[in-house]
């Protein structure tokens, strides 16, 4: 079974803090993704990566950056957390070609 793990289930941070969300997949997938999910807005793509050290902006990249130094690990960075970044963050991975994505359990981030 594909397994995608995220470093925290719940996280509380203060405005202005730098926040790191980690995601690890164990299926040797080339593609990895970060989404946020908010009520009424659905899943929105923040950043994605098709290869190590490669990244592409999604629909809402402002205020975020990413890092992919190893194939199995994809990190989302909030450079200076703000209250409007309070959300559920979901990481996903997928093999090239087949393209179904497998999601992690999510991180519920609250910024106060």
């Amino acid at each position: 079974d594909v397994k995608v793990t995220q470093s925290s289930r719940y996280l509380v941070k203060r405005t202005g803090e730098k926040v790191f969300l980690e995601c690890v997949q164990d299926m040797d997938h080339e593609n990895m993704f970060w989404y946020r999910q908010d009520p009424g807005l659905g899943l929105r793509l923040i950043y994605f990566s098709y290869d190590v050290k490669m990244k592409e902006k999604g629909d809402i990249p402002e205020g975020y950056s990413v890092s992919r130094e190893k194939k199995e690990r994809f990190s989302l960075i909030l450079e200076s957390a703000s209250t409007n970044q309070t959300s559920m963050y979901l990481c996903a991975s997928g093999a090239g070609g087949a393209y179904e994505q497998y999601f992690g359990p999510g991180t519920r981030l609250t910024v106060t």
């Binding site: 659905g42 393209y99 179904e100 994505q101």
Partner: protein, 113 residues
Amino acid sequence: EDQVTQSPEALRLQEGESSSLNCSYTVSGLRGLFWYRQDPGKGPEFLFTLYSAGEEKEKERLKATLTKKESFLHITAPKPEDSATYLCAVQALWGGGSEKLVFGKGTKLTVNP
């Protein structure tokens, strides 16, 4: 613009009462359509991939079908444990030749015992 619309937004059924969820899409060149199930506070769980009109996939009480404009998720004799939000997504071309998934907002299904 690529769009995915799911209906209804919410659906309440009695246990054993069969029904269907709808996913209509507009995308330039469908590469694939995906159904997911999401339980509260958890990540989406992959259910099905459909690639071409006329294709059908089944898993337990769920059956997904695909036409050129929409997909249906049929739920036969549902049980309370089928209660969840069901998400539909289509594979679309992104600028630069790469591809991404475009998600609908989901249908929240509640099955009462």
